[in-house]
Symmetry: C2
Subunit: 513 residues, 2 copies
Amino acid sequence: MIRNVIMNAPTATFRSINPSTGQTLNTDYPSQGLEDVEKACHLAAHAFPIYRESSPDLRAAFLELIAENIIGLGDQLIQMASAETGLPVARITGERARTVNQLRIFADVVREGSWADIRIDHAMPRREPLPRSDLRLRKVGLGPVAVFGASNFPLAFSTAGGDTASALAAGCPVVLKAHPAHAGTSLLVASAIRSAIEACRLHEGVFQHLTGQGNELGTLLVNDSRIKAVGFTGSRAGGLALVAVAAARREPIPVYAEMSSVNPVFLMAGALRDRAAMLGEAFISSLSMGAGQFCTNPGIVFAVDGPDLTRFEQAAIEALSKTRAATMLTAGIHRSYETGVERIASSEGVEQLARGCASEGVNQGQGAIFATNAEVFRKNSELREEVFGASSVIVRCPNVETMVALARDMEGQLTSTLHLADEDYDDAKQLLPVLEDRCGRLLVNGWPTGVEVCHAMVHGGPFPATSDTRTTSVGSMAIDRFLRPICYQDFPDSLLPTSLKEENPLKFPRREA
Amino acid sequence: MIRNVIMNAPTATFRSINPSTGQTLNTDYPSQGLEDVEKACHLAAHAFPIYRESSPDLRAAFLELIAENIIGLGDQLIQMASAETGLPVARITGERARTVNQLRIFADVVREGSWADIRIDHAMPRREPLPRSDLRLRKVGLGPVAVFGASNFPLAFSTAGGDTASALAAGCPVVLKAHPAHAGTSLLVASAIRSAIEACRLHEGVFQHLTGQGNELGTLLVNDSRIKAVGFTGSRAGGLALVAVAAARREPIPVYAEMSSVNPVFLMAGALRDRAAMLGEAFISSLSMGAGQFCTNPGIVFAVDGPDLTRFEQAAIEALSKTRAATMLTAGIHRSYETGVERIASSEGVEQLARGCASEGVNQGQGAIFATNAEVFRKNSELREEVFGASSVIVRCPNVETMVALARDMEGQLTSTLHLADEDYDDAKQLLPVLEDRCGRLLVNGWPTGVEVCHAMVHGGPFPATSDTRTTSVGSMAIDRFLRPICYQDFPDSLLPTSLKEENPLKFPRREA
């Protein structure tokens, strides 16, 4: 009894765990609560009106300095992130490059100015029947943004990741809730941001950092009336919980939750005939990246049944059988993965084609591929659900029409992929309108893992892939999520914000009429 | 008892009422229900994939033909709208011009193509460490949109109003729920849209029209899984109810509800000294437009107390005393207005300055202006609430700092207005950051009634003025509400949508990198 009481008592601190050894790391992180949320939001709200109006050059320099400071953390950051996530040093190093690149892209975006969507309708004092006023529109930051660190990208989707970079670029202060599994990594990155704040002489409230376990801290944060938007990447349950909290506020606020996706891949007949074995290998390579812990992991493969599909499956079986197990991010994620794989393996009408190599270590995710037919797949909605990790189901279809019908039954997705030869274009044209309606990114002859940070990227999609299909969380368009328009009517030039002044001192692009 | 049962039984039809006579008009409109909603949404969902991909020229021609057909309805439409709303013929004629102009602006917007936000990141096959794919982004329609007709603009914010025009421009079919107070007007406009659909050989599901009284029909509509967004202009209670219905769906959808605003006006010392009397008259003119039934009606006036303010008040009193009563839209709106005015009149510390002329007719809204001091205003939150109609409260402040403090206490607004002389700029600079945070449009030396349909207009604002501060319901930016981005990766040119093909056949503007 006494033991129980002690275990349930609120812990003042927590520690992170090295998932590749199972050992608890030896730093204590505070379990923060209401008072800390209050303080962080208070500072963020005070920083907002100043930071919102900071010059594009200052904001861009700030983002670039964060990038520089992250690089300056050196090996310490790489080692910490690798220890806390079990992800290999090479992967973390690559992710750091991506994170830093992302901050620099947003610095360019801030300076270029299209984000402000400047529109000027000049006065027409002699228009009949009524004169027209001078009307000028700019977009400004929404207000303080709550960002949640994501377990699977400790750098690129966490503390100084895409949500933070785009919110800061938009002129919004960020209150960051660290993912508890990599609290140490998060604090290191936070220190890089804080140094940049000091060097740029910005208000300390521009970035605030909170640590804690469980859901309470995040709920408190999203409930704070000073928070005006939320960025989240994670599970469907977690995302939907935050959406519900935000919708129940007196003032509902937007939640940009990127939640789950099975990223269907469609192998068309011509492509299979031309390169079944190559595709089978490439499939396993995409499936296994990062122990399958990518939002864009190819979780379902649709193809017309026949000898070419058999060749694809054989190549995939062979490749997976040689694929080493990989450490998963946390013991909990590893357990969920194994449960998910067992659920599929024991489903009626589902055949387990192969598992990856076994491993002696802890939290080792062993890839898994399954096959079933269209009839079984249609009836068993569990097969359509995401198993977070390197698990995928191949659905053998009698014909293209069945593939189209199954695509129609799909929920919203981040991506869909088509493998095509020239002769498959007519079949593809049947699928495309259905897929456009159900996903944010469509790929031809590629694999969905690997998300380019650029202007044309969409990392988003219809519900339940995300909570807001109008947006993307990767690429320069991500900044639009944190902006709102204001119109200025008949303002004297000296009272206009700089971006709207007649002589255009910021050289922002303008739409004039 | 028997009488009660009959009264509660579902009525199969309803009639609209002429508010200026109180007489029921002699046409029966069906009270539609679930079956009708099902049918409308079914048709809209079937129309969507075809209409979404319709060429910009076809969509623009369709919008222009709707405009032409509305004009073609001639006097019949003007008479019907005037009879159902009590608004004078001249006002309805002006509103028709605005509605038709709005449709034509959206036709131009569709053809010009910026709305599609085309972005092309060309492939970089030799980039190190990894090649870049060819990535192309376009925006497409969200899906079928539910639009609610608004009582106060039977044409410009109703059946073929801004929400419908922008949704159709975006490639989204519309299911319109007519406002029951002007069902006849709505059906006439719907017939103009249907003729345009036939002439353009579009799918009949592109526009569907529903009639009914009470809230049930709208709730059923917003709950239909095929509806992907909602446009609404009306009361706060109505808007929040729809927001709640949309948030409780399995797939939550965006609701663009424009709800309520008191549109504060700040009279600065220099402006009052220079032109107090002129401002007083202009204030009453803005307040009385359309019997005060504008979303942008100036419901609160803040000014520094003193002899100049007294001159302003006297001019306003004189002007209002000569202002004729005007028919309000419905008996219910008139009752609410009178209740609101009585509530303010009986508030402690509030002085009634004047009422407009009385009238013998039914549903006659008589303007009302009140005055109070900053202390009373701060303590009585009821004084900050919208009274829909020509009622306004003048708040006499001891100094500019008090005006800033009261501005800080305000809820989100559609507009805020400053009346300034050159010497007031420093005072204005104290107010502006506070107002920018709390409203969608800021005006200098004008009046908030009268909303220009142009590129730079924002008819929106922070909650509770609207449910989504990221958007506007008037002006070309309104189209953004009904769009979502899709990215195409490494597509062969022949499978790309027309707007993304390499040679740019639509000549849409592109952002290329």
